[in-house]
């Protein structure tokens, strides 16, 4: 029996002909306690190279085009059979269903913020007379960074906020990269999102690079 390669989890199986998978195999749908797993019967795990990553992404995109609520699986998720897959998912079904409703009708846009200045952000202010614990925590907060502490980043995020259903922010410690923002945007609001981004991305001191629309890869990770 061939193992199952997992592409995505869906709220419901899409109508129409099943799309092709990573190796050209037809994708089929396995019902798992109220969510639907899109899987392909494969001979073995795909080799890990750029073309396989692209093929995975393209298969997920074909599924996303036909489905309104989809959570992409991470590359390389392989289950020995349907029973193993159901067992692995069972405990997380409530969280998966909630995540599927969050992403319904949305695509993901990814923004990378980088600094165009060589200056380092001002250190976080520590309250006068703070104890060693407070000082330590203030230092940790400064090290982890808060994307919104940079006013030019906050202005861009605030301008986009009305078009964003959900936001994930990731600070970065490697200059010049400041932060990544992942935005869930309704598919019918993508044009408005791009137009708004273009109108605010001229902020001095920060460069923003957008990619997308993506299937909502960044809105499924904490379900592990």
């Amino acid at each position: 029996m061939s193992p199952l390669y997992l592409y995505a989890l869906l709220a419901e199986a899409p109508a129409g002909a099943p799309p092709a998978g990573l190796a050209g195999e037809p994708v089929r749908f396995v019902s798992c306690h109220g969510v639907v797993a899109a899987v392909g019967d494969v001979a073995a795990a795909p080799s890990l190279d750029a073309s396989a990553l692209r093929a995975h992404d393209e298969a997920v995109r074909r599924l996303a085009a036909a489905a309104s609520a989809l959570l992409p699986a991470r590359f390389g998720s392989l289950a020995p059979d349907e029973d193993h897959l159901r067992d692995a998912l069972q405990a997380r079904v409530p969280a998966l269903k909630a995540a599927l409703e969050t992403v319904r009708g949305c695509d993901q846009m990814t923004l990378r913020f980088s600094s165009t200045e060589s200056t380092v952000a001002a250190p976080a202010s520590v309250p006068a007379g703070a104890g060693p614990g407070t000082q330590y925590l203030a230092g940790r907060r400064a090290a982890l960074g808060d994307a919104r502490r940079r006013p030019e980043v906050a202005r861009i995020l605030d301008a986009l906020a009305p078009l964003v259903r959900a936001e994930r922010l990731e600070p970065h410690q490697t200059p010049p990269l400041l932060a990544s923002a992942f935005h869930l945007v309704r598919r019918d609001a993508l044009d408005a999102y791009r137009a708004t981004l273009a109108s605010v991305s001229g902020e001095a001191g920060v460069r923003v690079t957008a990619s997308g629309p993506w299937p909502p890869y960044a809105f499924a990770g904490d379900l592990a």
Partner: protein
């Protein structure tokens, strides 16, 4: 010419890095059943850092006045 080269390098790397970050670094993880060789993952990140190093060198070379 220099600008075109820079743009080309930047776009090629950016799209591959975005792909790697999204497809390999995010998405639903089915822990119990993932059979993805750890050695292979290391290899991808090794290649990735090699790519980044290479890009870095080209960048500084083309940017030197």
């Amino acid at each position: 010419m220099r600008d075109a080269r820079e743009a080309l390098i930047e776009e090629a790397d950016a799209s591959l890095l975005e792909l790697v970050d999204h497809v390999l670094n995010r998405g639903v993880v089915v822990k119990a059943d993932v059979i993805l060789s750890l050695a292979n993952v290391d290899l991808v990140y090794l290649r990735l850092s090699a790519l980044l190093c290479a890009a870095d060198r080209v960048w500084s070379a083309t940017r030197t006045p």
